[in-house]
Assembly symmetry: D2
Homo-oligomer: 337 residues x 4
Amino acid sequence: MLIIMRLDASRKEIDTVKEKISSFGFTPHEIPGVQRVAIGITGNKGKVDSENFLTLPGVVEVISVTKPFKLVSRDFKPESTIIDVGGASFGGEELNVIAGPCSVESRAQILEIAQIVKEAGARFLRGGAFKPRTSPYAFQGLKLEGLEYLKEAAETTGLKVVTEVKDTETLSLVAEHSDVLQIGARNMYNFSLLERVGELDKPVVLKRGLSATIEELLMAAEYILSKGNYKVILCERGIRTFETYTRNTLDLNAVPVIKKLSHLPIIVDPSHGTGAWDLVSPLALAAIVAGADGLMIEVHSHPEKAMSDGFQSLKPETFHRLMNRLKEISTIVGRRI
Amino acid sequence: MLIIMRLDASRKEIDTVKEKISSFGFTPHEIPGVQRVAIGITGNKGKVDSENFLTLPGVVEVISVTKPFKLVSRDFKPESTIIDVGGASFGGEELNVIAGPCSVESRAQILEIAQIVKEAGARFLRGGAFKPRTSPYAFQGLKLEGLEYLKEAAETTGLKVVTEVKDTETLSLVAEHSDVLQIGARNMYNFSLLERVGELDKPVVLKRGLSATIEELLMAAEYILSKGNYKVILCERGIRTFETYTRNTLDLNAVPVIKKLSHLPIIVDPSHGTGAWDLVSPLALAAIVAGADGLMIEVHSHPEKAMSDGFQSLKPETFHRLMNRLKEISTIVGRRI
Amino acid sequence: MLIIMRLDASRKEIDTVKEKISSFGFTPHEIPGVQRVAIGITGNKGKVDSENFLTLPGVVEVISVTKPFKLVSRDFKPESTIIDVGGASFGGEELNVIAGPCSVESRAQILEIAQIVKEAGARFLRGGAFKPRTSPYAFQGLKLEGLEYLKEAAETTGLKVVTEVKDTETLSLVAEHSDVLQIGARNMYNFSLLERVGELDKPVVLKRGLSATIEELLMAAEYILSKGNYKVILCERGIRTFETYTRNTLDLNAVPVIKKLSHLPIIVDPSHGTGAWDLVSPLALAAIVAGADGLMIEVHSHPEKAMSDGFQSLKPETFHRLMNRLKEISTIVGRRI
Amino acid sequence: MLIIMRLDASRKEIDTVKEKISSFGFTPHEIPGVQRVAIGITGNKGKVDSENFLTLPGVVEVISVTKPFKLVSRDFKPESTIIDVGGASFGGEELNVIAGPCSVESRAQILEIAQIVKEAGARFLRGGAFKPRTSPYAFQGLKLEGLEYLKEAAETTGLKVVTEVKDTETLSLVAEHSDVLQIGARNMYNFSLLERVGELDKPVVLKRGLSATIEELLMAAEYILSKGNYKVILCERGIRTFETYTRNTLDLNAVPVIKKLSHLPIIVDPSHGTGAWDLVSPLALAAIVAGADGLMIEVHSHPEKAMSDGFQSLKPETFHRLMNRLKEISTIVGRRI
């Protein structure tokens, strides 16, 4: 249930509504908007009687929510959420690109790639240190060592770090070494991890599960928001289909659908989404035109030697060309990079 | 198997190769390219011994084809095929838009919409007269009457007609009344229809089946080409996935994949592909940026009264705006509309 | 819409209702049941006013149908339909097995396999003469020659022939040479073929499409029934999933679901459903226990030499063993073979 | 890589091979079979040179494994693994049924249902105390309280407890209160949880993920075995397909496929697999005939009041009838219940 306050509602009126919600044993969520405040109610197991709130001063409307998600919904917060990460943002006019290797493989490797990423004009460096892998025998990342190299590479170049958190055990370690946490596709249904990340005050890139519907992705984000962390950046990264010429099927339909349903930023990862480096650029450009708020791109200085996902990584010069094309195309859609 | 001729191979050398192929009971397919001629062999049930051809004068190379498709393959014909329909083309620099209602509903309706389509700058009019429907009780189209209205609307406006052919029985009737035939998703595996259409000298829009892979789409096109009709325009129109917020999942990955695998033009239908009018424009623009050679868009003057697919049809003013956006974006990708 | 007649409704009362339906331009379908007659209405494009019929003598109830299928529905006809083919039946207590090679390859081959099938206790012989194939270059069947061999093999052994009809052009030819027509998975959406088969008085095995839902299968059957042919045997043959260890995923859930929704018999084809001969027997037995009314099994005397689908064909001795196991298990579920 | 020892290999020979493996920094896994010992090698990142081992005394053969899974493979251990849980077992001649409510809702509820389950002849009680739910606002289980009720119900009736573990934080708590751990479909890719469960000496039911392939399920089991816990019972519980008449599509093909690929027991959950109580019994019987080693069935004394999954739960009398049918059918397939 959503309670919409009058434009001129006072602080006291807002607090009174929140107290009333708490008195029923529910949790109030105040979401300040540009024009007016909305208050979400969670924790109720059934229907809440709207009469209880409609009579309070400052309340304009009480909306009974039928969609299963609430806090992530655009009904709840009509304006798009802009998530700022040390001066670079997702969800506003600005577009940002997160680039780097699938895995941090060595200090030299990540320092070299960070430089390339920086020079091409991206502001975020990606690189996995804790890798969830289908096989227990596959390379699982350099772990703490990888995090340290990543941080060093970021500090040297002024880039911000995005890296994956794999479990609750390593969460605080990963959080310390990064600017933005990433939750991978295989952990989208890991509700305990989502809740723990929801308790932090740190931006999170949440990737869509391998065969997850858009609603399930939004419900996973709802887990994080419901614990208080509103800084969630959704990420489309391809879904499983019957197609074999691509590793996954990047679903660009999800971009305008999510922009319609939710106020959260949505970025696109065409590297995992297609699994083939020569499909990355056309789909990256298409994603921006479809309305995406940013991109996540795999870049490697020596794709042929990469320990994972080499085939889908862009070489430095291809990445450079893509960044230039993105700048051109972003102005056409009223964005800037 | 493909036989690649020397750049300066003479007519006589080419004919000698073709005769040799015929002497084995196979069918030669000469594909003239900008630089050199290639000759495809079909009709062989097993492996053909390349030694038979390598020794002939004018032959450069004999390529054993491992992909199941041959004539549609870019290995077979490296340059993109440009299909001209009375001065408007698919596959070259020019982009074309096919627009109109899902079904022809009345004379007045199609005349009105043809005018709108024309004014917005499209050159092709679509409209179904024979409709394959999941339910035997659903509206199946105006049939011959619909074809006649469609033709009248096209003649009045100077547009070219694209309309669906549903079965071999009505094929000649539909062919007489149209400039381009359309084979719908549900008929992509209707091999007898594909073969019959392959015997005509008429452009065909071939839509991807509901859950078909890209390879299956190319194999369906191969059926048409193998009978001699090389004027096939492929059409991505969304595949079945688990997503419920969209009717289908428009697969834009298919665009660059098909451009890589095949020389045939590929267009995109975001109306059926998404099933929601407000997703059509962002995905239409994205399709062009991803490399599509054209679009198929549903337009209706009164979507709320449409006998089928009203929810996914654009209103005249929205279509007009989309055409203007397409003109802007096409220049960025080196195309023109 | 369904009109349910009183138990003791007279012939005259029934005819009066049917005339009234016709007078509205709709088509009445009389379905005689063990206890009472129901009359289905098709051909209406919108809602039919139930008041028009409730007042007629002999009418008990008028049911507004919300499911998209009508004539195939168990609401329409509560008792299971039993389809008799020259003394062998589908849908009753009796279970029947349709067995034979994927394709008729030669006179000797089909005569040999017919003998094996007969000796093992099956009563129906399958074998494709017109084969719809994904590739235009694949073996397409022996055509008329194949039909003639098939008929000879059946006459020699006393088996009944089940063979696939691929298109309307060859329909009458195939119908002449067979006891039961088969419509393959790729033709399930070929509505023109369904309608033409619906005009015949001949049993039809209708296979579920490659990614078709159960509702779509029932709608395809509805096309056939709506033209007057009520002798439709549905066939589950596996659907497309992400699984790669099996060619398709045989969906045994479909068996009890269809028994609940429809009065038509449902048989199962574990050969195409799994694509691996060693999975055929366990799933054939499971299908019967789940409630299937029969089976379609590929049998080949020399699977390693088969021109198509050899890997999924049972050898004679394996088929013999399976038939014996089926006899044992059928008694447990109150059926007989 | 697998090293196969001679039938009469001595303890000393076996230990020598294991020491050699360790000396390379790899991990040896000794798997005693009825006839001979095999030793698996894990921890190697690339190919291991077989020459190193072939020359050691007692070694018969060195098999290079191409399948991505090793320890779970039937190549590795040809005989079926039998997992004993206090006298009741999975994987041998005996069939066992795990039954109970989706969630533990109250002390009275679980005590009542445990009694019903016991009387019907099942030996395992299921019931969720920690529930992973798609929505953060849905009932998440009674947690510790639920575990205690469950344990009490089991002790009163002599049943063994199977309950889901949701995360590593609550793992030791859940392990203390249960005889068999369950890892749910949404946690199949939660590799950190799999590893931690692999460190325990406790049987685990591992459910197939929502759209997981059989290979991915086996790889998830491999994670558990690779940490030393070999007591894994695989569970087919339905996969996501396009079908809407069932909640999931129970994939019985998986049963014989897994029996062929792996030595681990495989059980089937037709309650989650179909999502409809009236499909549970036919598919439970079919599962046994297809070769399943047991079943997991939802039973509730008042399904209409259940806090989750009521629609798919069997009522006591239906469960009783099913257990009787299972006893009949199990003898036919050489099993006993």
